[in-house]
């Protein structure tokens, strides 16, 4: 399986370098000797409160990837209803039970960036941020 896993991850890396998604600034293994820990850098979408921001993600890849989803966390502090302010954990269905082995690290990062501009208030991880969102909605 390790050979297969390495082959798959190398292919993912090549595909990102060949054709990177617009707001995904970086996606690469963090250290040379460990292919199971990656980092990614997201840029905030234009015309959203996140425009101009940059967020670092850490990606831990399990041995049974891609049958099981990667574990992705925010390393940069962010205030968002579906992201835990302290731990950086992300509440997103495709990183849990909706994961399919045909997803890639890149497509997972894109899904996370989409979550930034489209929060899911029904499944909040961070109660305080959720309260703020609702408060902000009330003001509008």
């Amino acid at each position: 399986m390790t050979d297969t896993l390495t082959r798959r991850l190398i292919k993912e890396l090549m595909e990102f370098r060949k054709d990177p998604a617009p707001d995904l600034k970086d996606l690469t293994p963090e250290k040379e000797d460990d292919i199971l820990v990656w980092k990614a850098i997201l840029e905030g979408e234009r015309d959203t409160p996140y425009e101009g921001g940059q967020w670092k993600l850490r990606i831990n890849i399990p041995r049974n990837y891609p049958m099981a989803p990667p574990n992705i966390k925010f390393m940069t502090k962010i205030c968002h209803p579906n992201i835990h302010f302290k731990s950086g954990e992300i509440c997103l269905d495709v990183l849990k039970n909706a994961w399919s082995p045909a997803w890639t690290l890149q497509s997972a990062c894109i899904a996370i960036r989409l979550l930034l501009s489209n929060p899911e208030p029904s499944s909040p991880l961070n109660c305080d941020a959720d309260a703020e969102t609702r408060w902000a909605t009330n003001l509008l």
Partner: protein
């Protein structure tokens, strides 16, 4: 002295009750059999006994083999009606949570929509085959070996066999998934059918997968429920719908003898309906701090104030120090229970009005709650202690066999008596939750009378069972226990019958919305 007096009392009431019950049966049988004969013959009595009581429901116990067979019959039936493959029929049935009628109705209405939502493609689909496909690259493992085995579900998304095996093993073993395993392509909802799973995974994983599927068959089916007893593998079928739970308490008994409520899965809670049980348990949890001290196992003797621990199910207490006899529930002297026997089950709102008027309103509702909680907890505690009585009873049964000429079979009446006692305490316990939510009307008094009669009978039986054995009085004791057991069981029946009928006839008013 006390017990002799009461014995006479009870024989009186017993005869009366028996008489009235007989006449009730008579009038019923006349209607049904149109038999002008006044005497009840034996056959009629048997027929009456076999008839379902108003508080009983029909149910069936199934083994795992039975469950598998049922599933297969349903699948074959639907496959024949809709003219589709069995594995597709199974996926559709699972999607519709085994509601066959609804599936067929929707399918006739709009088969495309049904198939799409359930993740089934039937068009020119053959059973999935594993094939070699030179030049194919698996999108998941990036392998391109020409000898590689591949397969695609009816959606056409092709991957290598190895990846599918890893995927299915992960789903079954790590995630405990069975009926909702989808195609590996992202956003494709086509279900991996049973046959395909069987084709790919190891026998060990396949066995696990089958077990999970059987589990969902019972879990998804409104009319099936696993027996909640630990390590019991039977499932019970009962056709009382969830919507009837406000008027029926569907109590079932598994082949393993465990009795539980089919509606909510909790242990037998007749005569309370599920929704009151839920409310009551929640209330007791919320109020547990206040109630804790009440359910404590010790009390002070009303006379000499020494601490007394309750060590048996019986409520007739005697202080070891001063020999003061009192009732555990109301703490009143036992002698006052002599003729009225058990008058402390009633929360007489009139006589306690004065006392309550002086207290704050919240205090009154707390008092009211504690009144019922106290009695509820008392029976729960007693039922637990009665389990110890089982052990004591077993020793007693041995003792009886040694000191008299009674055989093993002939001493079984003792165990039977304990069975009935524990069951009646269970029923009594829940009558107090029922009574707590009951609003006072003309019917309440009948309920309270039945409750008191059962309570009284239970305490009498409990006391009899705790008597030490005297060799020369065994025959006498046996007769007393036998009589009392029959009587207690009949009191329970009367109470359950009346409450069940009242629920069906909408005779009870509750203080909460149901």
């Amino acid at each position: 002295m006390v017990s002799e007096l009461s014995e006479e009392d009870y024989i009186d009431t017993y005869d009366e009750d028996n008489g009235s019950e007989m006449s009730y049966y008579e009038s019923e049988t006349e209607d049904i059999l149109d038999d002008p004969d006044d005497d009840l013959n034996f056959e009629v009595v048997v027929a009456e006994k076999d008839r379902k009581k108003p508080y009983e429901v029909d149910f069936k116990v199934h083994s795992i083999e039975g469950i598998v067979k049922n599933q297969d019959e349903e699948v074959t039936h639907v496959a024949n009606i809709l003219g589709i493959l069995k594995e597709h029929a199974a996926t559709l049935l699972r999607h519709f949570r085994w509601n066959k009628e609804r599936l067929i109705e929707r399918y006739m209405d709009d088969s495309h929509d049904v198939l799409r939502k359930a993740g089934v493609i039937t068009e020119n689909s053959r059973a999935t085959r594993v094939i070699r496909m030179p030049g194919f690259v698996c999108e998941i493992c990036c392998d391109d070996d020409d000898n590689m085995l591949t397969l695609a579900l009816s959606c056409g998304h092709r991957f290598c066999r190895n990846c599918y095996e890893h995927y299915l093993t992960q789903k079954v073993k790590e995630e405990g998934e069975s009926r909702r395993i989808m195609c590996m392509a992202s956003k494709c909802n086509v279900i991996v059918d049973e046959k395909t799973v069987g084709l790919i995974v190891s026998p060990e994983i396949h066995e696990r997968y089958r077990r999970l599927l059987n589990r969902t068959y019972v879990d998804d089916n409104e009319y099936l429920r696993w027996c909640p007893a630990p390590s019991c593998e039977y499932a019970v079928e009962c056709h009382v719908p969830q919507t009837s739970l406000t008027s029926i308490v569907p109590t079932v008994e598994c082949a393993c003898t465990y009795r539980f409520c089919f509606g909510c899965g909790l242990p037998d809670h007749q005569p309370s309906i599920c929704m009151l049980v839920k409310k009551w348990i929640k209330k007791c949890e919320d109020d547990s701090e206040t109630a804790n001290w009440i359910s404590a196992n010790t009390k002070e003797c009303g006379k000499c104030h020494s601490t007394i621990e309750k060590n048996g199910g019986c409520n007739h207490m005697t202080c070891r120090k001063c020999k003061y006899e009192f009732c555990w529930v109301c703490m009143g002297p036992w002698s006052e229970h002599g003729t009225s026997w058990y008058n402390c089950n009633r929360y007489d709102e009139k006589s306690s009005q004065e006392a309550r008027d002086q207290q704050a309103k919240s205090r009154a509702s707390l008092d009211r709650y504690l009144h019922y909680y106290n009695r509820f907890a008392n029976h729960e505690q007693s039922a637990k202690l009665d389990r110890e009585l089982y052990n004591k009873t077993e020793k007693k049964m041995e003792e009886m066999q040694q000191t008299s000429d009674l055989s093993w079979i002939e001493v079984q009446f003792l165990k039977k008596a304990v069975d009935i006692l524990v069951q009646c305490r269970m029923t009594l316990k829940w009558t107090y939750a029922f009574a707590f939510y009951l609003a006072r009307n003309n019917e309440t008094e009948i309920f309270e009378d039945n409750q008191r009669d059962l309570e009284m009978a239970v305490e009498q039986l409990s006391e009899l069972l705790e008597k030490p054995i005297e060799a020369e009085k065994i025959a006498e004791l046996k007769q007393q226990v036998l009589d009392k057991t029959v009587y207690v069981a009949s009191r329970r029946e009367v109470l359950l019958e009346d409450t069940a009928k009242g629920l069906l006839e909408n005779r009870w008013d509750f203080q909460v919305n149901i």
